[in-house]
Every structure is written in C-alpha cells, then in structure tokens.
Symmetry: C2
C-alpha cells in the first residue's frame, strides 16, 4: 500500500488536543502521513513516505463536514431572493417552485447539476457532505432524489416532510401518512441514513413532526429536524425528546430550548448563511456554547434561503455575528458537523481519521475570518473510500 | 488594429441606460466589441471581429472599480483581529505595527507582496484600483510606498496623515507640518493623484485635516478623506467644504452630514467589509441614496480593519445590511467607484469606455448576492493601457 506525506505544513489543525496545542490540537512545522485513505502518523515536518506533497508552509485543516445541505435541486430563485432583499418576507412556499423545476429536468441533467454543485463544494473545502431530499414530495420523486444524492454521499437524508404539497392543502395529516408510509419505504430502499422534518408554522406541527421522525426511527433511520428557524416553536423540544442527532437552524430559542440542547446529545446546527439570506437575526452560538451545547456550522446550501457552498463564509459570519471565536467556528464546521452526522471518523486529523484535508492559502485558520470573502482554499484532498 | 468580440453574453450590464434595460442598461443575448482597449460596439450576440471569446451565456459586468485600498503593506495582524473578535475594541494604533512590518521588508519583497495582492484583487474582478500610502509616515518611506503603488495604478493616494507616528506623540501639529511640507513634495514627485487624511478622534482633527487637504490641493492633488468611521465627527463636513472627491467610511452620520453629501458632488464611499471586520454598525446606504447622495462601495483592503479583496463580499453585505438593492450595490461598486476617482472612462461598458470587463460564473449579477461567499468571478479582462 502506498503512503503519502503532506509535508512542510506551517500549522496543522488536528482537532485532537493530545497531538498539539489547545483545543484545536495545533502542530507547527508539521507533516502528516496517509495510507489507504487514513491518517497513520502526525509529527514534525520531514516524515517520509512513498509520495510527498509539499504544502510550502501553508495551514492544513480537517476538511469541512457540511452536515446540512439540500444539494439536489434544479432551477434558480434569484429573482425571489432579490425581491426579498427589497422587502418581501421569506416564506417556505418557494420550495414548491423548486419542486416543479426539479421535476422538469431529466435524471441525467439532474446528476450533472448536482455533480457540478458537489465539485463547487469540494473547491470550498467540503470533504464530507450530507444531502437531503425534499424537492420531490411524491413517493417516486423523493426516491429519485435520494438515489441521486446517494451517488455523492452515504449521508443522505429523507426530507419528504419539507413542505405540504399544494395537492394536499388542508389535508396535511394525509400527507404525513404518505410520508410515514410508502414514501418512507421508498426512501429506505434508496439507502437514506437520516429522516428529517421541517417543524415550523406553515410546515409541520409538533405531533406531525413526531410522527414522521418515529416512523423513520422504526425503520432504522437517524432523526434530524429543522427547528426554530422563523420563530420560537416546539422543534427543539421535539428534537431532544426524540433523540435527534441534530436540531438545525436554532435561530429563535427560548431559555428552555437552550437548556434542553445543553442537557442532551442533540447537536445545535447553526446555518448562518440562511440567517444572512433571509435577514433573520443570527442564531446565538455564544449562548449555546456557554450553556454547554455542541454546536455545528453548515451551509444549508439550497436555492431559496441559502444558495452557498462557502463554509468559509459561514465561519466568518459565525464569528462576526454569532459570538463564536475563530477556533470555535472552525471546530463547529469540522468536528461539530461530524457530531451532527454521528460520525467520529471525519472532522479531525488524528491517527486513524479519514485523511480528508484542506490546504489553506494562509498561514493560519484565523485567515478564514480575517480575510472574509477571499477564496482561501488552496487544495482539497478527499480520501477515496466507498460510500 | 485587432478587434475582439466577447460573444454569447447571457446578460450584459453596461451601466448605460441608453444601451439596455433599466438603470443598469442590461442587454440580453449580447456581444461587445473591443478595439485598442476600448469598447467600440455593444449589440446583439453574433457581432464579428478578428478574435472571438465565447462566454457561453454567462453574465458580463463592468470590472469593479475599487476606489479605496491600502494595498502596500507587509505583515499580518490576524492575531489582533482574533482578539478584537473576542471582545477587544478596534483602535487605529495597530497601524504602527504595519508601519514597522512594512519598513522591515526590502523593496523587492514589497513589490512581490503587492503584486500578489493585486493579482488576487484581479481574480476578484477588480480592474481599476486606487492604492494609498500611509504605512510609511516618514518622507522617504511615504515616497517609497507611493512609488510601489505607482507600479500598479495611476490612481495613487498620498496618505501621510494616516496616524500620528509615535515619535510625534504630543506634537501632532509638527507632524502635520511635515505632511504638508517636504513629505507632500516627495509624494507629489512620486506621482500621487490624490491626497487623503484620517479625520477621526485619535488621528487628525478638523483643522489639521483641512490643512493637509489644502496643501495637497495647492500642488494639484485631488482631496479625499477618511471620515466618520468610529463615531460622528467633522469629517464629512470638511469633505464637502473642501470639495473632496469622496468621503470614505460614513458609518456614523448626522442628518446634516447626509444633507451635505446629498447637496454636493462628494461621493459617499462605504466600506462594508471594514464595518464587518471591526463590528461597527453598517453604514446606512439607504438613507444616503434616498437623500440623493452618490454612493460607492470599496474593499478598503488593509491589514487591520478589512483584509479582503472581495468586492463580491462587499456587495453582498451592502444588500444584506446597508439597505441597497442588488442593482444599486453593483452600480456603487463600478460607476460609484469611478465617480469617487473622478473618472468617467471606467465603471461602465458603453461606447468608448475602457474595455475592463468581468465574466461571472452566473446567469445574472443577482448571484453576487444570491450566492454569498461563492467565488463567481469566471474571468477578469483588464484592457491594457498606460497608467
């Protein structure tokens, strides 16, 4: 088996405090040796291996773990976006426009679109990505979207309960029954790992959300939830009650919500680019961290409320506007994302970690915040492995 | 003379309402013909020329005009930045750290550093750039920095009055005398086009600012001013009184300041990335535009308060947080910047304009806001011309 050494690393962020300084486990003048897609050694510069990549003093970080994306869609909602920026409120109804646009393209075209988007995310340093369905809303189309997603990741999420489709207007319980019935069976057959529901006024209420998540749990899926995006509500409480891997958005939290998250293993996944693009107030990461909750940052890449693959942008916003330090934000975008996906093999660069790493055009990870908007991803190395 | 056609442009932003739709003068399915660095024809796709560049349906915009940058510096202040994000206030004193770091590098190294930064700005779509001195603060060093700047642009600005150097502590009027005397003569000899002063508590007061600007005017320089960044103050009033091309920052304005700008030809140059990086409130572009003032957006690229070359990031912030529409923000980053530099040849793509253009990886300029953080600059074409 060939070994590769990434050498001459100015600063290596391992996220393993046993390997280096501080909570980020930073090693200066480092090298890292990789074999068969896994890290086998971390040490001073100059370790040897069969192949050598000289990163010329740059900073190396674990690849970003994007634990919340809606990458499988077609169409463009920039006009809706511009009108919102000119004063119109955000509403979930635009999801239906994307459902129509996605249905209108062939499988081949959809695969091409998602591949381009996944490549853009890789250029942005994202090495692990979760991808949701949710722009189908019928049994056949949700199955289709999950099969497309499965081409790109093993972390696929069934989000049939994204919004109540027009044809079920006034009969949302009937739609929930479909979501929990044959649509779930199709999602499971398509290899979904997670089940998710949009718990919000205008989407699904607490009882409906519980029903969707329990049905998913019953067939072996891990629950996640879209919670408290547009206002306070029962989403976070349901997340903790149902043992969700993550409660995503958490923009509007009560004190009880914060306590519930802090007392649970449910990760609070914050989506700063969504708060940015919908002009919501920013979620208060500081309050969650101070309470003891685990926080993840994710892009929420989707055509309506957060059309970005830039985790760097999310990190910069989280520091500017959510009260995180640069160290906390980087860790939330790597280790935090991994926790939200219930994975321990990614998000760090310790021994036996998956060798997913990002070389920054910068001497330290602080530049991700210090140089906002500048494309600082010099190279993204995604370890080849089955998914 | 060879002609070149940029063909198959999905949407062409000309900033010339006589050529297309709306204030941006948008032409769909367009082509643009260039000869000797100037636009000679704008029309439907399919115009012919000696050479052809097919932009494959992408959006083309005028190159960004960055009317406020401090590109000539060495050193890194990311640690200061991180501590500010952790709660320390912004203070102008860090400027002195950059003065020391810049003095410590050779001319050759400084040229290499600035060339790399200028190349980064070009990759970000900036085709015209103003560059200030101000990290020298002695006659010889300000001359040196202006000579370096002059290698990259004709729009150089003498900012000897950036901060009072330590050796003049308690004798700021003596420093002003130097700035207005032999240092100004050296700056003029180095080809400076503008004179600038940092009018703020802790830097230079109104009378000192007037003295610096008047001295520059007397030797033929165009005045500009750093005004009202950290609090309300006399900067904007001085700008209008002295006929400044621009008043830059404008973060804290009184009603009288807004009226003064609206009633003058002084451009209000807003620097959203500086407001971002110093956690200031964002300047209120909407109020200025509604009053009738001309607004420019610029990067303010510098190592202390805004270390970015991303005009796209500035545009996205201006729409999210300064109340601009996407159209207004794009125009402020092109035509507005040109006005702040008293130039009419750049910032637009009409007949006889300089053929500086940017091809976006997007179907419309709205994506600069709709897709925040994503590097959307597909190609930057800077027309060759003397400077």
């Amino acid at each position: 088996m060939t070994t590769t050494v990434y050498d001459n690393i100015g600063r290596l962020v391992t996220n393993d405090p046993s390997l280096g300084e501080g909570p980020l486990g930073i090693v200066r003048n480092a090298s890292i040796v990789v074999e068969d897609g896994s890290v086998i050694a971390v040490g001073a510069a100059g370790q040897t291996a069969d192949d050598r990549v000289d990163v010329e003093g740059r900073c190396v970080i674990p690849g970003f773990v994007d634990s919340h994306s809606h990458l499988v869609f077609a169409g463009d909602r920039s006009e809706e976006f511009a009108s919102r920026m000119a004063g119109a409120p955000y509403a979930a109804g635009g999801i239906r426009d994307t459902v129509a646009a996605t249905a209108a393209v062939s499988d081949e075209e959809l695969l091409r679109i998602v591949a381009a988007r996944r490549a853009e995310a890789a250029r942005a340093g994202i090495t692990t990505i979760e991808i949701k369905s949710g722009y189908g809303l019928t049994t056949a189309s949700e199955h289709r979207l999950l099969c497309v997603a499965r081409e790109f990741t093993s972390d696929t999420t069934y989000l049939g309960a994204h919004v109540v489709p027009t044809e079920f207007a006034g009969r949302s319980d009937d739609y929930v029954a479909l979501v929990c019935g044959e649509m779930l069976a199709a999602a499971s057959a398509a290899g979904a790992r997670f089940v998710d529901v949009f718990c919000e006024v205008g989407a699904f209420d607490a009882d409906q959300s519980r029903a969707v998540l329990q049905a998913g749990i019953d067939v072996g899926l891990i629950p996640k939830i879209h919670a408290n995006q547009l206002g306070e509500g029962p989403g976070v409480a349901v997340a903790v009650e149902m043992g969700c891997a993550s409660a995503d958005h958490c923009t509007h939290l009560s004190a009880a919500d914060v306590d519930a998250l802090a007392g649970s293993s449910t990760v609070a996944t914050l989506l700063p680019a969504a708060d940015f693009s919908t002009r919501q107030p920013y979620a208060d990461a500081r309050r969650l961290l101070d309470a003891g909750a685990t926080v993840a940052l994710a892009t929420n890449c989707n055509p309506g409320s957060s059309n970005t693959t830039s985790m760097s942008f999310c990190i910069a916003l989280a520091v500017r506007d959510m009260g995180m330090t640069a160290d906390e934000a980087l860790q939330a975008a790597t280790l935090g994302g991994a926790a939200a996906l219930r994975r321990t093999d990614v998000g760090r660069l310790g021994i036996a970690s998956v060798a997913d790493l990002v070389v920054l055009d910068a001497p330290s990870h602080l530049h991700l915040v210090y140089r906002p908007g500048v494309p600082l991803i010099h190279a993204t190395h995604i370890a080849s492995r089955p998914h």
